[in-house]
Amino acid sequence: MKRLLILGILFLLLISEGVALDMLPASLLDGNIFFVSHWVFVFLVFLAIFYDREDTYFSVFYALLIGLLVDIAYTGILGVYMFSYALSVYIIHGLAKLLHANFVATMTLGVIGLIFAEAFIYFIFSMTGIAELVWQDYLINRLIPTVLANVLFLLVLYPFSAKWLVNLREQQLSGSRQF
């Protein structure tokens, strides 16, 4: 039952991403600077840092699943988010072993993960010919605003989720060594 709770939260973040963008004032979206909300990904990073143990890969599985949902619901091109999210979360999962799970480490890993995910998505989209933007413009107009906007979300989410996820790990993953 508790497992479903995490999936439920991810799904809620997924749907609110789209609704929030529809609700935002037009002046924020108009213009040259673009930001993409990766709320789902931010939560996946939390999962990788606080929920997963060294030898469990729940966050990567969740990333595969929810990434596919993002693809279906928002882009219509399957696999892009699925692959980018899963690979970046996997990298974060690997890096999280090296660092102590505190606030600064979470921030650093969050930023690194966001850069990875965005870069993968940009790379795939530019390969398929959908994104037509030279990388210098991309860096300044898209990547940096996106990372900043999502780090903001990470700051909001941190106080609520970090402790809670650690507790959840203690409850759910303490005994079993299956995954």
Binding site: I15, F35, V36, I72, Y74, G76, G79, V80, I121, I124
Partner: protein
């Protein structure tokens, strides 16, 4: 340890292969989306509707308060406008009646201007900004089909990209490319209309590109209104698309490209109308290929 490394690399390679296969599958020209995709979209859309309605209600209250502040000024202005409209309305009515009469005498009752409207509300916008796409809360159950034009009160905003049972996704004009052309026209009062094609959206200048197909003696002027011409066979005629901002000759100097600014605001869309063109019974099937793909 070495075995472990190799296994990881193996998984990564398989992942990339699956990715390429999936992208290839979804980029090809699919007629309909799979049932699984439609199901996911409907579920997400249903949940978004649940979230959207109360949020919309709350933001609506704030907007209303804002509106009340300006009511007096607006009222004055609107009264003036109404006075002007009354005479215009009378004129339009007369013209309509005359048009109907003339059509009747010609035995030609169908027009490419006719359409059936389907009212819909935007429930979400794709967070991925490479893809200019919004989701609306009407689907094939309500008669929405692929390639129908979508308009707001101001003008055209896009076309239906894919429909599922209860929701559908709309591709906005800002995401149009050379595969989504609209045949357009600039109407002139006393000479021949200028025809052209909207050939895509220029991300750098934020304008639609209108290539003038038919050369005419008079150049396009700034501020002229571009309408859909209905010649593509999918969209009805007379939907406002945008205003001409600038005209440039192309690299060979043979045709001219006009930069058109969409009249509808692409970033502030709430209520839209999906426009189903009333298909005349005879020989349009050959034309309809043009805009379809």
């Amino acid at each position: 340890m070495k075995v472990f490394q190799r296994k990881r690399l193996f998984i990564l390679l398989i992942g990339i292969i699956i990715l390429v296969a999936l992208i290839g599958y979804s980029m090809q020209d699919r007629k309909n989306e799979t049932i699984a995709e439609q199901f996911v979209k409907d579920t997400v859309g249903w949940a978004q509707n649940l979230v959207h309605t109360p949020v919309e209600y709350v933001t609506g209250i704030f907007e209303n308060i804002d509106d009340i502040k300006n009511t007096y000024e607006e009222n004055k202005l609107l009264r003036q406008k109404i006075a002007e409209y009354k005479s215009l309305q009378y004129e339009v009515q007369e013209l309509k009646e005359e048009n109907d009469e003339l059509r009747n005498t010609l035995d030609k009752t169908e027009s490419i201007r006719d359409y059936n409207p389907v009212q819909a509300t935007v429930i979400s916008r794709s967070p991925e900004r490479w893809i200019e796409q919004v989701t609306i809360n009407k689907g094939s159950q309500d008669g929405v089909e692929e390639n129908m034009a979508v308009i707001t009160a101001e003008g055209m905003i896009g076309k239906v990209d894919a429909e599922s049972k209860f929701t559908s996704t709309v591709k906005l004009l800002t995401g149009f490319d050379q595969f989504n052309r609209i045949s357009a026209t600039v109407s002139r009062e006393d000479e021949d209309d200028i025809h052209g094609m909207i050939e895509g959206y220029d991300q750098e200048s934020n304008h639609l590109l209108l290539r003038v197909v038919e050369e005419s003696d008079f150049d396009l002027e700034e501020g002229e209104l571009v309408l859909s011409s209905g010649m593509g066979g999918v969209f009805p005629a007379g939907l406002p698309i945008g205003e001409v901002k600038e005209v440039k000759p192309d690299e060979y100097g043979l045709t001219r490209t006009a930069f058109v600014e969409p009249v509808a605001d692409m970033y502030d869309i709430n209520n839209v109308i999906v426009v189903e063109r009333q298909q005349p019974n005879s020989d349009t099937s050959s034309e309809s290929e043009e805009e379809a793909s």
